[in-house]
Subunit: 297 residues, 6 copies
């Protein structure tokens, strides 16, 4: 049996969450789910529990997930090699078929975890209800097959599901104008969906602490980054490499109306809850300008 | 800055609340607010914060409050003595006038506290929308004036407010068939309202630990009491005195469809949260039979 | 048994009301209730019956009431002197407490009368649902305590109640940004509410005949006053004294979209009905310009 | 200009109507419109104004009208003789064609008068939306052509129009199962419609004072008739002749749930208003049993 | 029993209709019904079946009909001569009365046919719900009586009926500002209604093949006519005579937002279906410019 | 260009469909999609077009599909042998994983085809929204792994999608009470879904002509089979083998409220349209008793 001090600390914690719950009530939140948090079983459960809690306290979470490592594993199983250009998977017809199957399996696996917690979920791909329309994306000018650039998002199905209290869980697959299937970068998909549905927040679960002025030293983590500051960090090269497209996505999202984009360390248990419901900030928040600081920061 | 352990403990607490939040989502909960919790400023805030949190995580709380001590204070101010028969205030016309004024002040004071937390509230008396209809109540066969027995509850106004996300806060005043004003016992009012609106829970904030087999020894607290057990305790005199009418109210409420009636110690900070959202039980829960134990017990 | 002529005259009266009923169907009407009409028992009933009839024939009445004389009476009961600066009550904490209690009693008394006529009513103060937000008002530059100037009106609760066929009855009490209670001038409150909810009409029940060019001679009553004419009467001093702030309120209301503001003689039985449903005008109507004359004038 | 006494009498009349308006609010009332009240221009306007007022104060009136005399007139114009068996018009194909045309003209004429008063109306026949389904009716065992007995009423169209605040005005024409057109007795149609839509009241505008124990002496008018009493009057022959089928219709309507059927003297101006909104009863009311007396009787 | 080839051809036909059904789903279509198609019994049934099918596959058809020949016939029956100025019927009071009666009969006859197919219909004139408001129309500067020019269309009743799945069938009769009845040209009425309700299509059933460059040679039929082309044909006199006002109506409709106006040959069985659901065009389609060609053309 | 005869035949075909379209309007129809119709590209398109047309003319189709052959193919690709007991696939964890992936791919492929026709579709498995709950199914008493028996169907998600005009396409995968994934027989799933949502029709696309008294001779096809007749055919062994469980499913569905179950030959182009919209029956219809024959039979 827990001590009375512990019990009171618990009550205090719930009360501490009160202003955040009130503030985010009915707000849409897109969670880009990927990286280590998708592989480690304990982290998986931690993320899914966080998302379920967001839903139960009145927010409207939407999950957009990746599945790169799992796709590579199944490519191997059927004796096919994975090939990448500029970080993008070269996607011929058979690769596309395998990718879609694997993403579908991952997708329904997430549905299963959410449903097990007693919360309603629906697994979708960007084909369902015509959510994601794409055109071919070139890698450095080179045709690498069925890799798509999102051209439009149809939010009708997502809106219908949210209005009926289902959590939409979306795999990054879409159709071009001839209804051919394409693979989509999950970060791009999350960003496009967040913008299209008018999300309040977009949270990327990543395998880093956040944005650091010195990536080698996690004590240099930047808690809050305005668009102007982000531009400067890009200019002077602090943000570069694999971080660059992600940050550009974040900037786009903020420019298109998402109030706050979070780069969170998905390797930490309950990173979503800690970011959303406690005073202690986690990772890096990107927002338009300082005036938009939330009270918790 | 808090330590990482503290932070993780907080996350754990929020996650621990998940099944309770899910289970009580959209359920109506009547809180009878009275006793010490209404007088001590810190306890007041603690109760109001708890109720606001219940609302924010998706429950539908309704407050029914008393105000006896405050009424006596104002009786004194205008030079009038308070007189009681069988625990009921003898209520002539002027007393009724003062009682209604004081209850109105207490009522709007609670509205003020809830609104300050950013949650919508409306202060009502049983006159508004004809909520409480009464007939004269005798004390031991004696006419003690405008003291009423509830004969019917019109829930239309309460339902309208709940459906529009206001917390109704109700003072125990009603009208008889000639539209004369009557004073009502707050426990009776809470019980009648809970039954009429189909509440899932009815929680009495009291100045005791709960029901004890030996009232002198709080280690004999009974956590769960079925109707059969309660009947027996009444029969063999363990429950008696001022406790008797309260327990009878509880039994009535359970018999009329309220799943669970709680007798909580209002002198403990956040007793509502602790009871509703943690494994550790507080006070005594009264329910139909053992099979109805909630998972938390 | 009445004669056939009387009966036919009655039918004719009902038919005469037809165009007014059609014209005002579903329109919102704010009635500022105060003065003699609040004290005389017969006048009280006459006003309440009029308001109930407005509701029953399809209009949406809202009552805003005062209670100055009653407050002074109770101040006396607890041995406190009333003090005024520039017609505003100096309001220390205890005075505020008493004022709120008395206004609450008056408020629920009106609810009781409307309910007795079989029409649904809800008694509110400006605290409920955050209806009235204020800031401190100075009297001639002097701090006279908790007397408030309305800064904003939140109509959500009023709209909800109207949509569900309740008549809102509002006491002029509000909260400042720190959620401190303030007393408000009832005329100001009526005017602010009428403007905020988009009322078609605002009717002040007063203790005068209306605006007279010679206040001593009620034969000089002005039936219709345009804004331009009102300005002139203020300029040349015909309107002055206690009348001035009331007329300024009327002008504000008309400028903010209320089609017609009526200054009625609340000492006349059924003055509301006579003004709204018969050809014979009562009191003074203030409107934007002559082109807005209703057919009845 | 009217005197103050007149004005106060008017106010009093409006207030007197208050309980009736409240009681009948949203109730459906079927008015069978026929006889002198359809021919005299002044009476026409009086009836239409009454119906418009019923609508404006919140009732849901439906008009079912006849047109016998007008049909005979047009039969003459095209050189065709009218022929009756047992009071029913022998209706060959050409007669049916003329009857339908004339009823259509009368119908749209009524629409025109209601619309002119600023109230929305729609003219229908029993063909529209399949309202009236019939089978052939024999007169004394004799086939007299397209004269129909109502077999069912489809209320969907009427309900739709009422819900959107139109007054339905219905001509008594229907279709049999082969979709052949039939003429219907207007009393029958009014009765069937009142029963099917669950009307509170059904009022017949007739050319008599009401039911009299001695038809020669209008001082013997019966104000209230219970079903038992009506049966007795039929048995002992007081009710007979043309009155018999009308009274049987009334009895049917009451037996099928219409609370009160009124036989009114349509030759009196505003007979509907006088019956519905004043204490003085007009004509004869038929109801289930004495206990159902309205307060006005 | 039909052969398998026939059966497959049928399936193919249904499938061929798929894109048209999808494209016109929920779109409003006004059908001006007149000419031979109103007289020949077989053509009547063919038109009504077409309209019923449009409704059943998800379109929202509205019929506006004429009745000139039938009116002349009944004028004769009552011994009155028809007289025309500039193609408009001189309409004195009695003529108006007859015209309204005959149009009413035609109107309810169409309702009857639609209802017989199991589809819900309501027959209206422009008086009902104040649909058509008019002013007097002069013929060549000459007053020819109750012939009206449409000044406004109130779509509330039409919208209500459509929303409840009734087909509105409208006779071209209207009221002026004094609520006097007027006769209206049916083409004008169809055009005004189509514009006011925002119809996608307006189809005129006529007694010609469509617009021909040489009216003598039906091989010169123009399938598609843009507004520019129509203007040219009017300028150089190819379109003239009785065709001119009809084409001007079409041009107005297109200019006011109707996407496509069709001049169809009502003498051909199922001309509506053939135009709307097969690749083979019928008659002449008038549209804004070539870019608006539908896929079927 | 097609001949005029062809065109008229087309119009006739559309008109012939009118009574069926009217009759099935808004009715739910479950199509079990499997067998040859899922493999042949042309048949696939034919089925999908039929379903799209059902939707467009107002029915509410739901597809439940299988995927056995495709699963076996992919089992082979990763070097795993398929094993069957009593016609049920032995399903270890890896087989389940592959089956779910393949069914997911098939599922989204169908979505893609429907979307390409301009109709909205959503691909689901029985996990989404908790649609299909199962328990382990034994084959002849033998545990063959993750093969499930449906124990309950949650229709909330299906109902939500239908109400918003999406076609739900469902893969036969479900969860047991521990949220473990199971494979389900597609016929069972179709039958359970049809029963749970209250479908009017359930159509099985099979690789046979229908039920024949002599399976070798397709001229012995039974067009209509009542439950009694079906029982007899089972008793005397005419129905047996692989047909037996399918017919038992049909009988269950009819007993649980599905009006009509069709066994259609999916190898015939547009078999759904021919069955639903033409007089010529296809395959075998199973219904409660002869009295329920539709007009088309």
């Amino acid at each position: 049996m827990e001590s009375m001090e512990e019990v009171m600390f618990k009550a205090q914690t719930l009360i501490e969450a009160l202003p955040y719950i009130r503030e985010f009530s009915n707000k849409k939140v897109v969670v880009k789910y990927g990286g280590s948090a998708m592989i480690d079983k304990e982290l998986q459960l931690s993320v899914i529990k966080d998302v379920a809690l967001l839903k139960l306290v009145g927010m409207q979470p939407i999950i957009v997930h990746g599945g790169g490592k799992e796709i590579s594993k199944w490519m191997g199983k059927v004796g096919k090699e994975s090939e990448f250009v500029e970080g993008l998977r070269v996607t011929d017809e058979e690769t596309m078929e395998i990718a879609e199957m694997v993403l579908g399996k991952v997708n329904k696996g997430l549905v299963q975890m959410v449903e097990k917690l007693g919360v309603k979920a629906v697994g979708l791909s960007g084909k369902d209800g015509g959510i994601l329309k794409v055109e071919k994306k070139l890698a450095n000018g080179q045709d690498i097959g069925y890799v798509g650039n999102i051209t439009s998002v149809n939010t009708e199905l997502i809106d219908t599901l949210i209005a009926n209290d289902f959590i939409p869980i979306i795999a990054p697959v879409g159709l071009d104008k001839d209804y051919q299937t394409y693979n989509i970068n999950a970060d791009d998909a999350a960003c496009a969906v967040a913008t299209a549905i008018g999300a309040e927040k977009l949270a990327f679960l990543t395998d880093i602490e956040g944005v650091c002025t010195n990536p080698e030293d996690k004590n240099t983590l930047i808690s809050v980054l305005t668009l102007d500051e982000a531009d400067k960090l890009i200019e002077n090269g602090v943000i570069g490499g694999g971080m660059l497209p992600k940050i550009k996505n974040c900037i786009d999202a903020v420019n298109n109306g998402v109030s706050r984009v979070h780069i969170l360390d998905g390797r930490k248990n309950h990173c979503l809850l800690l970011e959303f419901f406690t005073k202690r900030g986690i990772g890096t928040a990107i927002l338009k300008h300082e005036g938009m600081l939330e009270h918790e920061s």
